[in-house]
Every structure is written in C-alpha cells, then in structure tokens.
C-alpha cells in the first residue's frame, strides 16, 4: 500500500533544476522538468505518467526513453529504479498500417 500524501511529503516540494528543459521523450517531446514536476503532483507510476504527459506514447512507444523516464522518476521519488515498474508491452510491437493489420484472413482484404 502506498500512501500518496505521505510519500509526497517525504519527497518534498518540486525544485526547478537547470536541466529541466532537457528532452526525455524524443517522440512526444516531453522534458525532464515536466516529468519531475508531475511526480510532485502525485504521478508515481509510468502507467500514469504516460497518460498524463504522453511520454512513451508516440511512434516508438517508449523504446528509447523508457529507461530514462524510469530513472528520473525513481530519483524524484527517492527510490531505486526498480521501484518504478516499466510500462506494459502491447501489440503491435512496431507501428503497422491499418490496411496491413486488416489483412489477416489468409487472403487479401478488400
């Protein structure tokens, strides 16, 4: 069980850093500062963070930034990186055209 309010008090208030403008998610252009700030707004899981800021929701689905986000969030939560669970993996593993996905019945889809 995680007491969100207590945890927020433990980690203290958000403090701006010089590198807050640094891009973390290249696809959706989410910065380090946005991620750090969101943690102080109660966003503690990658699942929530993706939904809140769209990091990892773009074309590459977090394959590039997943680890970076995890470590930024863990540091902000004053925890080790394994505290922050990775996002669940979902099909399709690569971006695929609807037209191609639609053809799965052995014959061409008309």
């Amino acid at each position: 069980m995680i007491d969100i309010r207590q945890k927020l008090e433990e980690i203290g208030a958000f403090e701006p850093h010089a590198d807050d403008g640094l891009l973390v998610c290249r696809c959706e252009e989410v910065t380090k500062g946005e991620i750090r700030k969101a943690v102080h707004e109660g966003i503690f899981t990658i699942e929530e963070m993706r939904r809140y800021l769209r990091n990892g929701m773009g074309l590459c689905q977090g394959q590039t930034c997943g680890r970076l986000v995890k470590s930024i969030m863990a540091a902000e939560l004053k925890e080790t990186p394994d505290y922050v669970e990775p996002a669940s993996a979902r099909a399709p593993m690569r971006p695929i055209e609807m037209e191609i996905l639609g053809k799965d019945q052995g014959g061409a889809y008309e």
Binding site: L23, R26, C27, E29, L59, C60, Q63, T64, R94, P95
Partner: protein, 104 residues
C-alpha cells in the same frame, strides 16, 4: 558523408544500380535498394524532419527502425522510417514538418 569505397575487412563495397530520386523536389542519386537514409547521408542531408511541438530538427538516430526519429514524407505518405525503407527510382522524399510535408 560519403560511401566507403574499399574497406580493410569487408573489401570493396558492393556495386549497385544508381537511380534518381527527388529530395524536396531536387533530383539526387542513390543506390537502388539501399535505405533512403543512406542515400540522403551520402548526399549530405542531415535533417529529416522538424518535430510537431518544438519544431526541432531530427535525423537518423538508431538506424534500425526502432526510434522512428528519421521519418519523412515518402511518396506523399508521412512517418516513413527512412532507415529501413529501400530506395526506389523516382521516389519523392520530403522533409516532414510535424506530420506533413509543409511547414506549418
């Protein structure tokens, strides 16, 4: 950046058929079947697109189709990963702004 003509381990580079394609309307030469990215790089093109939110330039990053940073508008279709899409004669390759070929 150029092609590697002769490599100490891999030897002479395979010879391919040179074809013409169009980069933002200008004709360019590339080797048929090589990734579009390779032909662009040989021709000195570094910027493949500008991002939607902050309009930053982007180019090749992972080169294996994973990071999707190298996407361009190819034959009118946006978001084509140029690092894994083979070059064909006559292809129209355009700088992508956000998700379209026109500057917003």
């Amino acid at each position: 950046m150029g092609r590697i003509e002769n490599h100490p381990i891999l030897g002479a580079s395979p010879e391919g058929k040179m074809v013409t394609f169009y980069y933002n309307g200008e004709p360019m030469e590339g080797m048929e079947g090589e990734p579009i990215m390779a032909a662009l790089k040989v021709n000195g093109v570094m910027v493949h697109r500008y991002t939607a939110k902050t309009h930053e330039p982007r180019g090749v990053f992972c080169a294996i189709g994973r990071c999707t940073d190298c996407v361009m508008v190819v034959d009118g279709k946006p978001n084509i990963r140029t690092c894994i899409t083979p070059l064909k004669a006559g292809m129209k390759v355009e700088t992508q702004y956000g998700v379209s070929a026109k500057e917003a």
